[in-house]
Amino acid sequence: MLDARPTVGAVSLRSLAEWIYRFILFPIGQMFVFVVGAAVVLTLFAYGLALLFPEPRPNIVLVDQVNRQLPGMIISGITTGFVYAMIALGYTLVYGVLKFINFAHSEIFMVGSVVGFEVMRRLDDAGNLPFWNPVLLIMLIILVAMLFSGLLAVAIERIAYRPLRGAPRLVPLISAIGISFFLIDFVRAFQAITRNDFNLTYPTNDLEWLRTPVKLAIGEGTVNVRPTQFVVVLGAVVTLIALNYFVNGTKLGRGIRAVSQDMTTAGLMGINVNRMVSLTFFVGGSFGGAAGALFGMNVGTVTPFVGFIPGIKAFTAAVLGGIGNVTGALLGGLALGMIEAFLNGLLVYFPALGQRYTDVFAFSVLILILIFRPSGLLGERVDEKV
């Protein structure tokens, strides 16, 4: 329904065009600007570094290395960044509504990746994996993962957070940690019993199209792009647009925003607050699930422990972008993914440092940004009104 515009009247062609602009073209444009912006800034940084340290190690000319690595770093940054962004959305949505860090979200992501595996494994066991249309297959995997993770998130809220509403802010944090421990070991137990193993490898052997890398000739050499990387980016873009529409363009999205600003008053307006909170968890959870499935397809193997690191990174991304802000989560995720990719690519050449310091530098960047923008990149910089 085209209820996004405040004007009252019939649906005209003009309003359709405006709708398309607002909910499709604009978000795509925005993502494009973020990606290109981050890439340009970091590329300049890389060449700047090469100017400063032309030969950080004997026989290694940094400019040449940067030339060779640039496309690869950018592609890897974008793929990781979109995954971070999708997980970060879950943190941001829940934070916006309930004002607490849902530490269990990383495990919701993990469950999504495990469910993605289960779907493919089952299809493979039944022997009909190779006959699936690639697009349908990917959609199926993502949808099942979304559904499962979304429902799981709803259940978690119901069991572990709702009874604690109104308790001090840190209390649900602890039950979230409890949930997180529980889920990790529960999935491990489940897999250990049913499969005798918990390193879960997506069965892609029969899917030629998924395994054949695409060779892109860029500059001096060729870059191999895995089809899964396309899938990740495409899947992320589509789901992010859908989320943007949901939050900003639908009545339910408006309800969620109202609840996030003032729960009591939202109730007075006739909004069933609990249902809205559940809905928020469902949406946030299903995005985590989709991210998990995409991540799993991209990396090939997942375990019950796979959620921890991306979870922390995504949480960082949410803060970087300004927690509570949907666009901020997107920007934060992309920025973090790109920064990491470039740090990984460049630190290698500095003997005393190396990639082991990537996280140290990435966090330093975060701290720097927060010092200058205490509410994150896009967080509303409210001077508190008193």
Partner: protein
């Protein structure tokens, strides 16, 4: 309104009698003695040993809390606690040093929980990287005493174990300085932004410790610093242990490791006692009031003349310095310091202790530390051991006629300690959201919060915000 019916049931009579100080005191002594006797006479070989020790040991360790809550008079409380700490527990340690080890671990976590409680509970700053300061303390000691540190070792800069006490002080200073250095840039951040930055800082310290074997080897990297020095055992302590063993007619066990452990135990309770005194004095002072004010309303606090950053820095540095001192102790006790001991999970479990116990209260933090450590290192472990023991004798559960031996190995409880721990955390939070031993003030907040508070939109309290209005762009 339902008024309590004043029934003169026998139970009420018993309760009134028990509230008599003399009776209560006698009951307490009997209780502690019973726990002690059961514990020290348990036979490790017996089938039900894990179960019994799981019941008796927490009973003993938790007795200080019972003493403090009991109606006996303060001097008697002090005497009872002192007897427990200086007689009962060392005695138990001689009978079975694993309990002493457990108690030392509990003390280490209790110290950390008390320190974190100052940062999180008093000043309301969510610190998810607290373990970093602990690491700083541990490395401060280990770097200067481990044979594995090639820099100091080769240059003859290693110090002897006797320097330990000085290093506790040094650990305090170094950790406090690190706390201030980190705090200066980040303490202006609000609420959960601080959480992620401290989390990142904790990880940074760990990564640096893991990699500072190059270019110069300070930390021995991932190999860790082993052969870390220990404070020398005072001859008096050693001789008393030997004497006590002889007197009590024990087979002379290893007096050397035992007196070493006892030394650590005494140092640990010394440090904790100091931390408790410091924390209490801070709480009842202008500084403590300023922290509470900051926690409750930053804007009002600064407008009333409380210098925010300075007070927060002070909280941060105080908390850090406690962790530093405990870290030095830990390094010496463990004799091995490696980055693996300072993970995010550790920070989180300390936070869990503070919250499970009851945030903002000294008793709560201690209680939380005891409960969580007991759960982790005793209860869950013993559960696995018990089932294993039953399996070894092919125990059959009566009534349902189930052979424990048939329990599948995939479901071995030892593998699911964290799962159970997670469940317990959730259950505890749901049933005691203010913590197991809540601060009266915090408990009240909770009660009233149920009356649905308005959500004010502020920078630290943001809400889901829309995309910048695309229609206008």
């Amino acid at each position: 309104m339902a008024t309590k019916s004043v029934s003169q049931s026998p139970w009420m009579n018993v309760r009134t009698t028990m509230r008599q100080p003399v009776v209560a005191g006698a009951l307490l002594v009997a209780y502690i003695l019973a726990a002690l006797l059961i514990l020290s006479n348990l036979d490790r070989g017996s089938l039900w040993f894990p179960l019994y020790s799981t019941l008796a040991f927490p009973a003993l360790v938790l007795s200080p809390f019972i003493i403090l809550a009991s109606p006996v008079r303060t001097p008697l409380k002090v005497i009872l606690v002192a007897l427990l700490l200086f007689v009962a527990i060392p005695y138990l340690g001689m009978r079975d040093s694993s309990y002493l080890e457990l108690i030392i671990q509990i003390c280490i976590f209790a110290g950390l929980a008390l320190g974190l409680n100052i940062v999180v509970g008093f000043a309301g700053l969510l610190d998810l990287g607290y373990i970093a300061f602990f690491a700083v303390g541990a490395y401060t000691w280990a770097m200067f005493t481990s044979q594995a540190n090639t820099v100091f070792n080769i240059n003859g800069w290693l110090v002897s174990g006797a320097a330990f006490y000085g290093f506790i002080f040094l650990g305090v200073v170094v950790a406090a300085v690190v706390g201030i250095l980190l705090g200066l840039p980040v303490l202006r951040l609000r609420g959960d932004y601080l959480a992620i930055v401290t989390l990142g800082f904790g990880e940074m310290i760990r990564v640096i410790a893991n990699n500072l074997d190059k270019p110069i080897n300070f930390t021995n990297g991932s190999q860790g610093l082993f052969d870390v020095g220990r404070p020398p055992v005072p001859p008096l302590l050693y001789n008393s242990v030997v004497g006590a063993e002889a007197m009590l007619g024990f087979p002379i066990a290893n007096a050397t490791p035992l007196s070493q452990q006892l030394l650590f135990y005494f140092i640990a309770i010394g440090i904790i006692a100091l931390i408790i005194i410091v924390a209490r004095r801070l709480d009842n002072s202008p500084i403590g009031r300023a922290w509470t004010a900051i926690r409750e309303d930053e804007v009002a606090a600064i407008a009333m003349g409380v210098p925010l950053v300075r007070m927060k820095l002070m909280a941060f540095a105080m908390g850090a310095s406690f962790a530093g001192a405990i870290g030095v102790l830990y390094g010496a006790k463990q004799t091995f310091v490696s980055p693996e001991s300072f993970s995010l999970i550790q920070s989180i479990s300390i936070l869990a202790m503070v919250i499970v116990g009851g945030i903002g209260g000294i008793r709560g933090a201690l209680f939380g530390a005891v409960i969580v450590t007991l759960l982790n290192l005793l209860v869950l472990k013993n559960l696995s051991l018990q089932i294993n023991a039953l399996r070894n004798v092919d125990f059959i559960v009566p009534i349902i006629n189930f052979h424990i031996r048939d329990w599948p190995t995939q479901l071995e409880p030892a593998k699911y300690e964290r799962l159970i721990f997670g469940l317990l955390l959730i259950v505890m939070m749901i049933f005691r959201p203010a913590g197991l031993l809540p601060e009266p003030r915090r408990k009240m907040e909770l009660l009233e919060a149920k009356g649905e508070e308005p959500v004010t939109v502020t920078a630290e309290n943001p809400v889901v915000t829309a995309q910048p209005d695309a229609g206008k762009a």
